[in-house]
Amino acid sequence: MRVGVITFPGTLDDRDAARAVNVGGATAVALWHADADLKSVDAVILPGGFSYGDYLRCGAISRFAPVMKLVIEAADKGMPVLGICNGFQVLCESHLLPGALTRNSDLHFLCRDQEIEIVNNTTAWTTSFTAGEKITIPLKNGEGSFQCDDKTLAQLEDNGRVIARYVGENPNGSRNLIAGITNERGNVVGLMPHPEHAIDPLTGPTAQGLGFFTSILNAMVK
């Protein structure tokens, strides 16, 4: 199974995401922001970083990249898409996911090991977890505070579209401690913390992030 990992100018965690895909058992395929086809991948990951420097709103320029048109089309047809950190921001800017990620409430970039609870284990990217499972993976961003209007929040909560929540103190001011959400169909997932940095206790806090990358294999088997 082939999982595309998109590199925008300024993407930083692309090689980490590719490594995580491979360790998880799939094959990572490099996609470039200017690519005109998705190279027959079965799923796509938008990794973290500062695409185009994020000098405008994070992800606001990347959503117009040629490859994003293809990603949006594919996502609408059900292809699994995972946006991590900056990738999550791009998915929100692309309207594949609702809401927006804003400046952390304390205005500092924050890099730390963060405990999160997997709330929804039925999406394409979370089936390897049990519902309510708590895992610790790195959180690292300056604009990770998930915000949306009350109506959207109610929709997300009522339909089980919150897939992960921060455990303990709110690290960045996200509404309802939201760390990740999914679309109605459950194929598109946005996640603020970084599972690709938690695939080996040697280089990350745990190996508990690997579940996101093995889940995608389950999704394909189905």
Binding site: G10, C111, R112, K140
Partner: protein
């Protein structure tokens, strides 16, 4: 202003020129005239003034730095030594690692965020220029008193700048230091270290060889920022009431730098350059003159072709601009098309601005008229050299003859109070407030980072080869005895990587001092260099490069002499590294090394306002035996944990160990007060399985290192001679200092 050309300069030999305003002395100006046989054009004057500045020419330090070459130990590891953008060492398996520290002190005081950010940008380009992929950064920082109002302006800005730039480049920040002292008020030290890795065959050098090859400028467009940054800012003392000099600080664009890194690496991978140089201090003046003198000397540049952000810039300003994120490459004509193609892929601005000639002069034209015609070596390498007067300052005898007078805890309550006071002291307190603003995970190869003894990154995922690096300085010791202080910092940095099981390989340094025009400061500098050179020779570690930062003083008050020493080492299998702490109970804790009443220059003395006495003397033979013991023990898988003792002594070392994984320890010390507070060098605490004690005793005898059992691990407190300090109260003391100070 009308254009000043070589032809005009010949016709108007007596024109008055603003050499003093540009920082040149009268005799330096006279020397330029002598070299050229005429007065310099205004563009030539601009070039000489920035290149002959203290920052670029090392004119006050050169005579001393020579010792690093003269006393260099024989080393098979050194692939590229002092003189290039950064030194390169062989770490085995065909890999070469390049590393270097630079200062960005003065700009960071003027404009903390941009000053610190562009400090990262500059050092990263130095590493990239060698042909290497940058893989990690580190930042040794020093500030005025932690509770001073200006520190609250400077520190958050500098930390945000380092994070803002480094995070956006995708470089893990794996360590550094944060130290406070009154003398750094108004003179914060922002030193930035970068490590890069490449294959041996990929090493690039700054030389313009081959007549007909093209001079290609790529990266950001040139703007008016940072004009004369190095000569104006880093080469003089700040006056009390001077202008803010803010326009002299460069403004960074990390996104452009990230693109430049990826673009350059792709260009290197296809072997498209003959030579390469980044544009940092002194901008195009530096890059063109250094590239030209690295080759045969001949180069022609059409300055009007340089892409500008501000079209009103004069040729002099373009030559002096320190706009960031620019590189200059020498490219064979038949490879230019591919070069341009890769730049286009990355949306990087690129322009051929000149060519290498078979002459020996650097000729720069502006719309066809010659405005510079100089022998490039006289600009880049043959600047003035000063043997500045030096004299041991009066304070030395005065402080050395006094005895440290501090209270030594003896009762239970005194012991507890002392341990908690040190745990909370700004210099020793938990630095998460700072390091949590840095990305330590990106690239997925970080094995160790703050608060570990050293930073460690994996360079090969299959063979598990890795490198470790530590930077250290003890300015209090350097103040009492700069010769010993430099040696002790070297020993500490080497020890800090050996505790993890990495073998020390090479040294870099960033020498931060006051004004070289003060004979006392010059003596501190000379003694520090002598100490470091002697130390490196004795320990067999070559100095691969470094940086000197003078004029770190306000009025007559200089900073403490602060030679920051970085030691790089190699570890064959990062999976086997020894961590700095334990996460299980029931282990035995031993102290390696001797403890004396070394309170002079200690954190405990600093907390009591005492900066007197005699610093310890470095015993490098013993340090090397200790390092060999640590490496042998690591090889034999003897240690569960190993932690270096330095500032704050055993008290601080144990605090860090028990808090790391929230596993306590029960400690018994013979002379508890001195035992906790002394900072005797060459000491390490190790945790071992009880069954391994015979092996450890054997090793200690083999390497003649004193071994003392001090206790065992377990429980939820740090208990010292029956005095119980719960981990909760210890953690509160250790972690609340920074949030309280900086919000």
């Amino acid at each position: 202003m009308s254009l000043d050309t070589v032809a005009i300069a010949q016709l108007t030999p007596d024109n008055k020129q603003p050499f003093a305003e540009l920082g040149l002395k009268a005799d330096e100006y006279a020397r330029i005239k002598e070299i050229l046989g005429r007065r310099p054009t205004s563009s030539e004057l601009a070039m000489y003034s920035v290149m002959w500045s203290e920052h670029c020419s090392y004119k006050s330090s050169k005579v001393h730095l020579k010792q690093f070459g003269d006393k260099a130990p024989k080393s098979d590891a050194l692939l590229v030594g002092i003189g290039e953008n950064a030194g390169v060492v062989d770490v085995g398996q065909g890999y070469a690692v390049t590393f270097k520290i630079e200062s960005h002190n003065h700009p960071s005081f003027v404009e903390p965020y941009q000053g610190a950010a562009t400090g990262i940008g500059g050092i990263v380009r130095d590493i990239l220029t060698m042909g290497a992929r940058p893989i990690a950064v580190m930042d040794p920082l020093r500030f005025g008193p932690a509770d001073a109002p200006d520190t609250r302006r400077v520190l958050p800005g500098i930390v945000a700048g380092i994070g803002g730039y480094g995070n956006c480049l995708g470089l893990p920040n794996i360590g550094g230091e944060v130290v406070f002292d009154q003398t750094y008020a108004g003179n914060p030290l922002v030193n930035a270290l970068c490590i890069g890795v490449m294959r041996h065959s990929d090493i690039k050098l700054a030389k313009a060889a081959g007549a007909g090859n093209l001079v290609v400028l790529f990266g950001a467009k040139t703007g008016g920022d940072g004009i004369g940054g190095v000569s104006v800012l880093a080469s003089e003392t700040f006056g009390a009431g001077g202008s803010t000099k803010r326009p002299s600080v460069q403004v960074g664009d990390p996104f452009v730098e990230k693109i430049l890194i990826e673009c350059s690496l792709e260009i290197f991978a296809e072997d498209l350059v003959v030579g390469i140089q980044d544009l940092g201090g002194a901008g195009l003046s530096c890059a063109t003159s250094e590239l030209a003198s690295g080759g045969s000397g001949g180069m022609k540049v059409a300055l009007d072709k340089v892409p500008l952000r501000d079209p009103s810039l004069s040729p002099e300003e373009i030559l002096m601009s320190e706009s960031q994120e620019r590189m200059c490459a020498i490219v064979e004509p038949h490879k230019l098309a591919r070069f341009l193609e890769i730049c286009k892929k990355w949306d990087v601005t690129v322009t051929a601005i000149g060519e290498v000639t078979d002459g020996d002069h650097l000729e720069i034209t502006w719309n066809g008229e010659v405005i510079v015609n100089v022998p490039p070596r006289t600009v880049a390498h043959e600047g003035p050299v000063y043997n500045r007067p030096l004299a041991q300052p009066l304070y030395i005898d005065e402080v050395n003859s006094q005895k440290v007078n501090v209270p030594i805890p003896t009762t239970m309550s005194e012991i507890k109070a002392a341990v908690l006071k040190l745990a909370a002291a700004p210099n020793l307190a938990d630095k998460s407030w700072v390091t949590s603003q840095y990305d330590k995970y990106v690239q997925g190869n970080t094995i160790q980072s703050q608060p570990d003894d050293s930073g460690m990154v994996r360079i090969n995922e299959v063979t598990h080869l890795g490198v470790a690096i530590s930077t250290d300085a003890n300015a209090n010791w350097s103040y009492l005895n700069p010769y010993q202080g430099a040696k002790l910092a070297l020993a500490e940095a080497a020890r800090n990587i050996a505790t993890a099981g990495a073998r020390p390989l090479a040294v870099t340094n960033c020498l931060n001092f006051g004004s070289p025009e003060d004979p006392g400061v010059m003596w501190q500098f000379a003694e520090s260099v002598r100490g470091l050179a002697d130390g490196c020779l004795e320990m067999g570690l070559p100095v691969t490069g470094g940086n000197v930062s003078f004029y770190n003083q306000t009025g007559a008050v200089a900073i403490l002499p602060t030679p920051v020493i970085g030691v790089l080492g190699v570890i064959q299998d990062v999976r086997t590294r020894t961590p700095m702490s334990f996460n299980v109970a029931g282990l035995d804790l031993y102290l390696l090394g001797d403890t004396y009443e070394d309170l002079a220059g200690s954190e405990w003395a600093f907390l009591h306002g005492e900066r007197v006495g005699q610093s310890p003397s470095a015993d490098l033979a013993r340090e090397m035996r200790l390092i060999e013991l640590l490496l042998a023990g690591h090889q034999a898988k003897l240690f569960i944990a190993a932690h270096d003792l330095s500032q704050g002594g055993l008290s601080a070392g144990l605090t860090e160990m028990v808090l790391r994984h929230s596993v306590g320890a029960d400690i018994t010390l013979e002379n508890v007060g001195v035992g906790l507070l002394s900072e005797s060098p060459g000491r390490v605490v190790v945790a071992i399985d009880q069954s391994k004690s015979e092996d450890l005793i054997k090793l200690s005898k083999q390497y003649a290192i004193t071994l003392t059992k001090i206790g065992s691990t377990g429980g939820d407190s740090l208990t010292i001679n029956g005095c119980v300090i719960t981990l909760d109260e210890l953690r509160t003391a250790h972690t609340s200092t920074f949030p309280k100070l900086f919000g």
